[in-house]
Symmetry: C3
Subunit: 139 residues, 3 copies
Amino acid sequence: MIQELIIPVKGKGLYDITKRINTCVSNYSCSEGLATIFIRHTSASLIIQENADPAVQDDLNNWMDKLVPENDPIFSHVQEGPDDMPAHIKSALTLTSVSIPIVDGLLGLGTWQAVYLWEHRAVTPGIQRDRKLLVHASY
Amino acid sequence: MIQELIIPVKGKGLYDITKRINTCVSNYSCSEGLATIFIRHTSASLIIQENADPAVQDDLNNWMDKLVPENDPIFSHVQEGPDDMPAHIKSALTLTSVSIPIVDGLLGLGTWQAVYLWEHRAVTPGIQRDRKLLVHASY
Amino acid sequence: MIQELIIPVKGKGLYDITKRINTCVSNYSCSEGLATIFIRHTSASLIIQENADPAVQDDLNNWMDKLVPENDPIFSHVQEGPDDMPAHIKSALTLTSVSIPIVDGLLGLGTWQAVYLWEHRAVTPGIQRDRKLLVHASY
């Protein structure tokens, strides 16, 4: 009923996790139900967005970087690097969990929808970051 | 368990869909449970907001338009019109799914809460836009 | 299956409600499942954030206050005080419901995650504000 997904990430950006989640949902062998995806982090988040034009993802990243710039003088939480507090804020403005009805055994997404992990931390050279998600499925 | 709702929209704004969802929930004939509403689009979203003073909805729309103005020079996804990329961003900042406990056979909303579909695309003359939602109910 | 939580608040800020929700989940005596937390208000919201450095919470509050200042001349809903319309907007940008898988009988949060009620209204002298939440748990 609950499966853990580990998603390796290489710096900021949107990672399409739709296939990985659909595999979890398929394992459940249920034609109708509800899938809930939960991310166990506070500097990466979830989002459902357009899967057609990659420019949409670029624009989302650039617009969010402009809304929440690094090195804002109001930040006092700075010891984990200039990208950490912006990452917490971007996570707060997007989703930590999302629930999607299961239709015909798969996520009931619209034609142009995909599920993304939105990584908000920059690359740290030499560090491979793994993000952990829980996928719950039920009737 | 899963019902599809089609909501016709006429341009930007908040559309109260509480009654439509409560009808779905009533069809389920369950006194306690959980209802999940999911929107199958990325340029319209869901929100729960105050149902009393219509000025709240006006202010929400105007504030969001100011936060995410059209024709931002950082946008590269422009071929679907100046309102499309802002619509994706506004959707990213609000909700694609929302889950509400079912109490006494209906949505367990607070006194001043209603569920809204927030349409972020402008009217296209001659085009009737239908937005599709899935409503899942379970124990 | 559904329990009501009442959280007393004293003005703006993040209130850690993780223990209160885990108590609800424990009452359910289910090792695996899904917990959904729903807030019955539109001027307070939910958020999952870092539980380690209190400066993160200060920065979140200060950044949000800067993004949504009071007395914005575009606001027409002003009769409930200068903090009310900003509170609705802040709620719209964060969460009204959040669903968390239950693992080993408790919320399956990551190491650094806590669940917070984010109160967006200022203190009104002489008024004790109680915020009401519903916690739903299922298999």
